[in-house]
């Protein structure tokens, strides 16, 4: 049988590993992933997309679906956590948020469209840096984390705010510093079942697996933090 998983694109690799691990135990089960931005997935599910399980990169979209009655409220829980880091070329000497005003171009994800962006905005605002950087047009808003990382890697920007898991995949760039966790809401990946999913026993089964230590190990292997 198929388990239809709508998952944020940043989880695609982890999901593939989870699928492989789960199939060893349940060879008859097949994961059918639909990978896109959380917002896209949420809207698809609202529009009636077939999905059993939704893994969002963001609380907001999960809440949105709960209010739209497309996610069963009691099933929502946190699958994994992530943290925000500043990624840049190795030759950069930036050490903390305080060094940012000296930079020319800083990439972050668009706060409107991407959770990473929203967290970054919160942190920068809390640190009192946002208005300055914004006014001097230092901020380049990327569509998503991938694009922000790509700017950093190619040196188009002096640095980019991305998730830790994404930063670990960088080749030319390295993590310059971690953004203090108290400057923004926690970065959570909530998972929840749709009403269709909640009705299916095999989906419940997989949902349980996601909470298992084995699944936790796999996620940790990709750099995620466990709740």
């Amino acid at each position: 049988a198929e388990i239809r998983v709508a998952a944020a694109a940043s989880l695609s690799d982890a999901l593939r590993a989870l699928d492989a691990a789960y199939r060893e135990r349940h060879p008859q089960m097949q994961l059918v992933p639909n990978l896109a931005a959380s917002g896209t997935l949420a809207r698809q599910i609202v529009a009636g997309a077939p999905a059993d399980l939704f893994i969002s990169a963001d609380r907001q979209w999960m809440d949105h679906l709960v209010t739209e009655k497309r996610i069963v409220p009691g099933t929502v829980r946190v699958l994994a956590q992530n943290s925000l880091v500043f990624l840049g070329r190795s030759d950069q000497t930036v050490r903390s948020l305080a060094d940012l005003p000296g930079l020319q171009r800083i990439a972050l994800c668009s706060p409107g469209s991407s959770p990473a962006g929203r967290y970054t905005e919160q942190a920068l605002k809390k640190a009192g840096l946002y208005p300055v950087l914004q006014q001097n047009k230092r901020l380049v808003l990327a569509k998503d984390v991938l694009q922000a990382r790509m700017y950093a890697e190619r040196g188009e920007v002096d640095g980019a705010f991305v998730f830790r898991t994404d930063a670990l995949l960088a080749k030319q760039a390295r993590i310059l510093f971690e953004v203090p966790a108290d400057l923004h809401e926690p970065v959570l990946y909530p998972v929840g079942l749709t009403p269709e999913g909640a009705r299916r026993a095999e989906v419940q089964e997989f949902f349980k697996f996601l909470a298992s230590p084995e699944a936790g190990r796999i996620l940790a292997g990709f750099g995620f933090l466990l709740p």
Binding site: A9, S12, L35, A36, Q44, A47
Partner: protein
């Protein structure tokens, strides 16, 4: 570099199927719409024109959302279709629908340019020989706009191969089912070390459309320039 997986091949096959289907499906409508806009004199012509061009002006993602609103199982048309047991969203037909809507304005415009260069005296001659308006459209205008239709079809096919934004929203990104080449590329870019494969897929896509375009050109060449008498 050419170590493509089974799903990659599926993506390629799906892309070709989707682009071809979208192109073929759109030809009759494209010709009619072009003819309507070129020769028709009716109220709301500007509106129709605007509506047709909408998909060109809007970001494809938005087009995808609007289509989703329309065709989704809770949507206006989707609800009706669902009653007949038809389901478009998240099937490969959704990819076809996305390509169709996004590429249609390109086709129509190509057709119009061709139509407007047809010597009206040929149409006059046909009318005096007893052909009605519609008959003239089919027996004279259609064959004479063959080149333009072909050129538009080439455009449409290429555009369909590259269509991403509307497709990912309307069809979802489901490997083997709705994952066309651009979506697969998107996936690889999201994967560490996937760049090589992404590149391979890009090249494949380019090769495909080049082949299509060259075939198109060859056909165009054969099709003598013949809208003149």
């Amino acid at each position: 570099m050419f170590d493509l997986t089974a799903t990659d091949y599926q993506a390629v096959a799906l892309s070709v199927r989707v682009a071809l289907t979208a192109t073929l499906l759109s030809l009759p409508g494209g010709f009619l719409a072009g003819a309507l806009l070129s020769f028709g004199r009716f109220r709301g012509r500007a509106l129709l024109e605007g509506l047709l061009n909408l998909p060109l002006v809007l970001p494809p993602v938005v087009v995808g959302y609007l289509l989703l609103l329309l065709l989704g199982s809770n949507g206006l048309l989707g609800g009706l279709l669902a009653k007949t047991g038809l389901r478009i969203v998240f099937t490969w037909w959704a990819a076809v629908a996305a390509s169709l809507v996004v590429g249609f304005p390109l086709l129509v415009r190509a057709v119009r340019i061709g139509l407007e260069e047809i010597d009206p005296r040929l149409l006059q001659a046909a009318r005096t020989l007893g052909a009605s308006r519609r008959d003239t459209l089919i027996s004279i205008v259609l064959p004479l706009s063959g080149r333009a239709l072909l050129a538009g079809a080439g455009l449409m096919f290429a555009r369909s191969l590259g269509e991403f934004g509307a497709t990912i929203v309307l069809a979802g990104n489901i490997p083997g089912l709705t994952q066309t080449i651009p979506l697969a590329i998107f996936d690889y870019i999201n994967t560490p070390g996937g760049e090589g494969r992404a590149m391979t897929l890009c090249l494949l896509s380019v090769a495909l459309s080049l082949a299509a375009l060259l075939g198109n050109e060859a056909l165009l060449g054969k099709w003598a320039k013949r809208s003149r008498s």
